[in-house]
C-alpha cells in the first residue's frame, strides 16, 4: 500500500530527525521498549540508514515484569534486524525485590525504569537517546521539544527549554549533559497504526484480541502472565478475549475486551474509541502531573 501524503510527510520528518542525531552526536542509542511506537521507530531507523545498518545499538530497560511475549518478540526482532541489543536491569532494585506488587507504582517506576535508564545511559556513555514518545500521548509530552535537553543528572526542566526553530536543532551539550530525541513527536496513535498497516511492520501479538487469562483489579483487566502474580483471596482468573492498546509491565497494564484480531479491526476500533490509550496505564494515574514529575527526574 503506498503511503498517504500525510504519512509520507511524517516518515520523511522522522527519518530527517534520526539522521540529524546521528550526524551530530558522538554515541547515540535507541530506547527500544518493544511496543508499537518502538516498532515504528526501529523501522524508520532501518529505512533512514539503508543500505547501512543504523549506526547505534538498541537499549531495552528490562524491569523483569514485561509480558513474556514482549521479551520473545524483542529477541526475535534484534536477531531479525541484526543490531546490537543492550538489555539493562537495575540490579540493585532486583536484589531489593522491587516489584509492582510490593511497591507503590511511583516507587517502582523510579527504581526499575527511571533509575535503570539512568544507569544504562551512564554505563554506555551515550550522549543521545532516541525515544518513541509522541506528543499526543500526554499533556506534558505535548510540550516537549523534539530534541529535548537533559542535565548531567538526566533531568528535564520544562520551564527553560531551548527554543526549537524550524528543523534546526541546537545539539550542543555541556559536560555530562545528554539529549533525548523523539522522532515520532508529531505522530498520533492513528498515524502509528496506519503506518504499521501500510508498511507491514511486525508488532507484538498482544495488540490483537485473543483469549487470555485475566483478573479484574481496580476496574481493569490485568493479565496473569506468569506465576509471580499474587492472587487476592477473592480474585479469580478468567479467560477473556482481550487486547492491549499500550504495552508496559504486565501487572500495570490494563487490557480491553475486544474482538479485534486483525490490524484492520484494531484500526477500526481505535477510530471509535472514547478513551485515550494511556487509560490502560496504571502508572500515569498517581496524580495529574505524574508524567511531568517523572520526566523531570529522567524518565523518558
Amino acid at each position: 500500500m503506498p503511503l498517504t501524503p500525510h504519512l509520507r510527510r511524517l516518515e520523511a520528518e522522522a527519518v530527517f530527525i534520526l539522521r540529524e542525531a546521528v550526524a551530530e552526536f558522538r554515541r547515540p542509542v535507541m530506547l527500544y521498549s518493544i511496543g508499537k511506537d518502538s516498532s515504528v521507530m526501529l523501522h524508520l531507523a532501518l529505512k533512514a540508514f539503508y543500505p547501512a545498518k543504523p549506526p547505534f545499538p538498541l537499549l531495552h530497560v528490562d524491569t523483569t515484569w514485561k509480558f513474556r511475549e514482549m521479551i520473545a518478540f524483542r529477541d526475535q526482532t534484534a536477531a531479525r534486524v541484526e543490531m546490537e541489543l543492550i538489555v539493562h536491569t537495575n540490579e540493585d532494585g532486583r536484589k531489593r525485590g522491587v516489584s509492582p506488587f510490593t511497591c507503590s507504582s511511583s516507587a517502582y517506576t523510579q527504581a526499575m525504569k527511571t533509575e535503570a535508564l539512568r544507569q544504562a545511559l551512564n554505563e554506555g556513555g551515550f550522549d543521545a537517546a532516541f525515544g518513541g514518545a509522541r506528543r499526543d500521548e500526554e499533556k506534558s509530552r505535548a510540550k516537549e521539544r523534539i530534541f529535548s535537553h537533559r542535565t548531567a543528572s538526566h533531568g528535564w526542566d520544562p520551564k527553560t527549554q531551548r527554543p526549537e526553530l524550524w528543523r534546526i536543532f541546537n545539539t550542543r551539550l555541556g559536560a555530562g549533559e545528554t539529549m533525548r530525541i523523539f522522532p515520532l513527536s508529531n505522530w498520533t496513535e492513528t498515524d502509528v497504526w496506519d503506518y504499521i498497516a501500510a508498511e507491514n511492520i511486525p508488532v507484538v501479538p498482544l495488540y490483537l484480541a485473543k483469549e487470555r487469562p485475566v483478573v479484574r483489579r481496580n476496574g481493569a483487566y490485568i493479565m496473569v502472565d506468569d506465576e509471580r502474580f499474587p492472587l487476592a483471596p477473592d480474585e479469580v482468573v478468567e479467560s477473556r478475549r482481550v487486547r492491549f492498546r499500550t504495552l508496559g509491565c504486565y501487572p500495570l497494564t490494563g487490557a480491553i475486551e475486544s474482538e479485534a484480531d486483525t490490524l484492520e479491526a484494531i484500526i477500526a476500533e481505535m477510530r471509535q474509541a472514547s478513551t485515550s490509550e494511556r487509560q490502560g496505564r496504571l502508572i500515569d494515574f498517581d496524580e495529574s502531573a505524574s508524567m511531568e514529575r517523572k520526566k523531570r527526574e529522567g524518565y523518558f
Binding site: 546521528v22 527554543p163 541546537n170 508529531n186
Partner: protein, 633 residues
C-alpha cells in the same frame, strides 16, 4: 474589508477540494490571557476530540486549578505543565493533533507572556497559518503587535484575527469593527497574504465550530470551517531543487550515499546536479530506498542519493540543479530575533547553524532595530531579549543559502552562544552581501609540513594589533630582525605597505576594512603554507575580523599580540600626524577618534608599549616563541 486584505473565505469555502487538503499547521498567538489556550481546548471539545478519561481529568483539574469555579476551564487541556496550572498562564508551546473529515491539523498553542516570546517563535517557525487572538475589551496590545510581527517575519502568510471574549462586550459589532480597523494598519507593513477576522467567544464556543446566535450580524464562516478550507499552499511544486546534505553514508568503499531532506523542488535519476559551495557537478546515479530504488523524489521527502562521479560533498553542502543555484557567500543581511538573556555583541563570535552546517559567525553591523509597536526602525548598538534587528552577518567560510522569502528552510539559521550553549537568535536571511567565487582547491603533493621542516621552524602568523601609534610596526620589525638572526624564515606584512599594492583599491569604510583584513589573512595563510613565520602589523580594530583570520589560518598557527598603549599616549606620539588630522575632521573613520577599537579578550600575548621599551618587548616575544618550541626545530 479593504486592501491589503484578501478575505476570500467565501471563495475558499466554495472551492470544494477534490482530495483531502494537506495537513494545516496552525499557531494560536496574541497577548497574555487573551484566550488562546481556552480556544484550543474549546475547539477540541466541540469536535468531541477529547477522550472520556481526559475529560474526567479536565473536570477535576478545573475544580482544582481552574479560574472559572464549577465550570470547565478548557485552557487546562493544553496548559499541561505544573507551573502553567499554578500560574494560570501558558509557558511553552503545546502541540495538539486532530483531524476532521476535511483535513488534519497540527495546532501549536503559544504562550502570550512576553517573557516566553522565544517559545512563541518556536511555534511560529513551522506554522502556515496563525490565529491571532485579541481580547475585545482590550484591543490590540504591544504583545499582539509583537506576535504579528514575528509571525510575519517567520513566514506565516495567513492570519485569522480572532476577536475574543465578545461575550464581555455584549457581542457588539462596533467593538469588533474598531479592532479590525486597527489591525488593518498594523498588517499594512507586514507580509500577510490573507487576513480573516472572526468575532468569537472561546469560552462559550461562539463562532468556534458553529455560527453564533449571539452575533447575527456576522456573515462568514466559523473558525473551524475557515480553517478546514483555508488554502495556504504555496506554488512550491516548481520551486528550485534544494537538498542540504545531512549525512554521508559510507557503508563500504564502494558505496557513498548522500542523505538529506529535500527542502524544495524535485529531482530524478540522471539529473545533473551541483554541490553549491564547491560548484562541482555530477549526475544523480541512484535514489536509494529500502523497498527498492526510486526514480524521482520531491520535497519534503527524505532521500539518499548516489552520484555518478566521486565528488566531495559533506554535511552542510546544498545540492541543486546547475541552472538554479543558491547564493554562496560569507556575508549576508538578515533579520535576527534575539532570544538570549545576554544581549547581542556585534563582533563576538557565535556558532551558526545553517543547513546542517555549524560554523563561526558574527554580526558585523546592526542596520536597525525594529520597534514592534510602531514599526519604526531605529539605530542600535545591541539587541536584547525579544528584540528584532536587521543585521549584517559574517561567517567564517562561505555558506550556501537562499533568501527566507524564497525558501523557509535554506534561508533560516540559528545563532548559538558558545559559552552557555543557549540558542541566542533566530536568523531570517534577506540577501547576500558579497558573492564568493567558485574556485575549488588543487590537490598538492608537497605539504606545508614538508616545507616547514626544510626551514627548521614551526610556521605561524604573529598578528600585531593595537591603536595607530602603539608601536606595532616598530616592534614587529625588531622581532623580525631577531628572528632572522636566528636563521628563521620570515615575511612582514605591514598595514601601510599592503595598502600601496595588494589593497590599493580599498578605502577605510567598515566594509573595506573587513576586506582589507580578509585579504591580508588569505596572504598570511599562503605564507604559512610556504612554511614561513609571518609578521602582520595591522590596527585591525574589530574582534570579528581578527577572529576571522584566526579561523582562516588555524587556531594553532595564529598568535595574537596585543600592543597595548593608552589612547592619550598614542595621540601624543602621533608619529604620522594622523591623530591631529583625524581630530580636525580631515580623516574619517579613524580608530580611536570616530571608530572604536575592540581590544582582544584573549590574546596569546599582551604587552604594554607605554611601560617598556620596544627592544624589551621584542625580546619577550622571541622568548615566547622559543618557550613554545617554534624556533630551531
Amino acid at each position: 474589508m479593504t486592501a491589503p486584505f484578501i478575505a476570500d473565505a467565501e471563495t475558499l469555502a466554495k472551492a470544494q477540494p477534490s482530495r483531502p487538503r494537506p495537513t494545516l499547521r496552525v499557531l494560536t498567538c496574541g497577548s497574555v490571557d487573551d484566550g488562546k489556550s481556552t480556544l484550543v481546548g474549546r475547539l477540541l471539545y466541540e469536535r468531541q476530540l477529547i477522550f472520556d478519561d481526559q475529560l474526567a481529568a479536565l473536570r477535576s483539574d478545573s475544580l482544582r486549578h481552574g479560574t472559572l469555579g464549577e465550570e470547565i476551564d478548557f485552557a487546562l487541556l493544553v496548559d499541561g505543565l505544573e507551573a502553567e496550572r499554578e500560574q494560570g498562564i501558558t509557558i511553552d508551546v503545546a502541540y495538539r493533533y486532530f483531524s476532521t473529515p476535511a483535513r488534519s491539523f497540527i495546532l501549536a498553542d503559544a504562550p502570550g507572556h512576553e517573557q516566553y516570546t522565544r517559545n512563541m517563535a518556536t511555534g511560529a517557525s513551522n506554522a502556515e497559518l496563525a490565529i491571532l487572538l485579541v481580547d475585545a475589551r482590550k484591543g490590540l496590545l504591544t504583545q499582539t503587535r509583537r506576535h504579528a510581527t514575528i509571525a510575519s517575519l517567520l513566514g506565516v502568510r495567513h492570519i485569522v484575527l480572532a476577536v475574543n471574549k465578545m461575550d464581555l462586550v455584549d457581542y457588539d459589532e462596533a467593538v469588533f469593527e474598531r479592532i479590525v480597523g486597527e489591525f488593518e494598519s498594523v498588517a499594512a507593513s507586514l507580509a500577510f497574504r490573507s487576513v480573516e477576522a472572526i468575532p468569537i467567544s472561546a469560552r462559550d464556543g461562539d463562532n468556534v465550530v458553529a455560527d453564533s446566535a449571539n452575533m447575527p450580524w456576522r456573515d462568514g464562516p466559523s473558525l473551524l470551517t475557515y480553517l478546514e478550507n483555508a488554502d495556504v499552499e504555496t506554488d512550491g511544486g516548481d520551486a528550485p531543487l534544494r537538498l542540504p546534505v545531512q549525512w554521508v553514508n559510507r557503508r563500504s568503499d564502494a558505496f557513498r550515499g548522500f542523505a538529506g531532506a529535500i527542502a524544495s523542488g524535485r529531482l530524478q535519476v540522471g539529473d545533473e546536479i551541483v554541490a553549491a559551495a564547491s560548484g562541482r557537478k555530477t549526475t544523480i546515479a541512484r535514489i536509494v530506498a529500502m523497498g527498492g530504488d526510486l526514480f524521482s523524489a520531491a520535497a519534503p521527502d527524505s532521500v539518499m542519493v548516489t552520484f555518478a562521479d566521486e565528488i566531495d560533498a559533506s554535511r552542510g553542502d546544498v545540492l541543486c540543479h546547475p541552472t538554479n543555484r543558491p547564493n554562496v557567500a560569507d556575508q549576508f543581511a538578515a533579520h535576527l530575533i534575539w532570544m538570549s538573556d545576554e544581549s547581542l555583541l556585534p563582533g563576538r563570535s557565535y556558532l551558526m547553524k545553517i543547513n546542517g552546517r555549524s560554523l563561526a559567525a558574527s554580526v558585523t553591523d546592526i542596520k536597525h532595530k525594529l520597534d514592534v509597536d510602531t514599526g519604526a526602525k531605529s539605530a542600535a548598538k545591541t539587541l536584547s531579549l525579544n528584540e528584532i534587528g536587521f543585521c549584517n552577518v559574517a561567517t567564517a567560510a562561505p555558506v550556501a543559502f537562499d533568501s527566507y522569502d524564497e525558501n523557509r528552510t535554506t534561508g533560516a539559521f540559528i545563532l548559538i552562544d558558545r559559552f552557555s550553549n543557549a540558542t541566542a537568535a533566530a536568523g531570517i536571511i534577506a540577501f547576500p552581501l558579497r558573492r564568493a567565487t567558485n574556485i575549488h582547491l588543487q590537490e598538492q603533493s608537497v605539504s606545508k609540513a614538508t616545507r616547514a621542516r626544510l626551514k627548521h621552524q614551526t610556521p605561524a602568523v604573529l598578528w600585531f594589533t593595537g591603536l595607530s601609534g602603539a608601536g606595532k610596526s616598530t616592534i614587529a620589525n625588531l622581532v623580525e630582525s631577531k628572528l632572522v638572526e636566528r636563521h628563521a624564515h620570515t615575511l612582514m606584512l605591514d598595514g601601510d605597505n599592503v595598502r600601496h599594492g595588494l589593497n590599493k583599491d580599498l578605502g577605510f569604510t567598515e566594509a573595506d576594512r573587513v576586506e582589507n583584513i580578509r585579504r591580508v589573512g588569505e596572504v598570511a595563510k599562503l605564507m604559512v603554507d610556504a612554511g614561513l613565520i609571518v609578521l602582520c602589523a595591522f590596527i585591525s580594530p574589530f574582534r570579528a575580523e581578527r577572529r576571522m583570520v584566526r579561523t582562516l589560518v588555524g587556531e594553532q598557527e595564529f598568535i595574537e599580540i596585543f600592543i597595548d598603549a593608552p589612547l592619550d599616549v598614542c595621540k601624543e606620539r602621533d608619529p604620522k600626524g594622523l591623530y591631529k588630522r583625524a581630530l580636525a575632521g580631515e580623516i574619517k573613520n579613524f580608530t580611536g577618534v570616530d571608530q572604536p577599537y575592540e581590544a582582544p579578550e584573549f590574546p596569546e600575548l599582551k604587552v604594554s608599549s607605554a611601560e617598556r621599551s620596544a627592544e624589551a618587548i621584542a625580546d619577550q616575544i622571541i622568548a615566547y616563541l622559543e618557550a613554545n618550541g617554534m624556533l630551531g626545530v
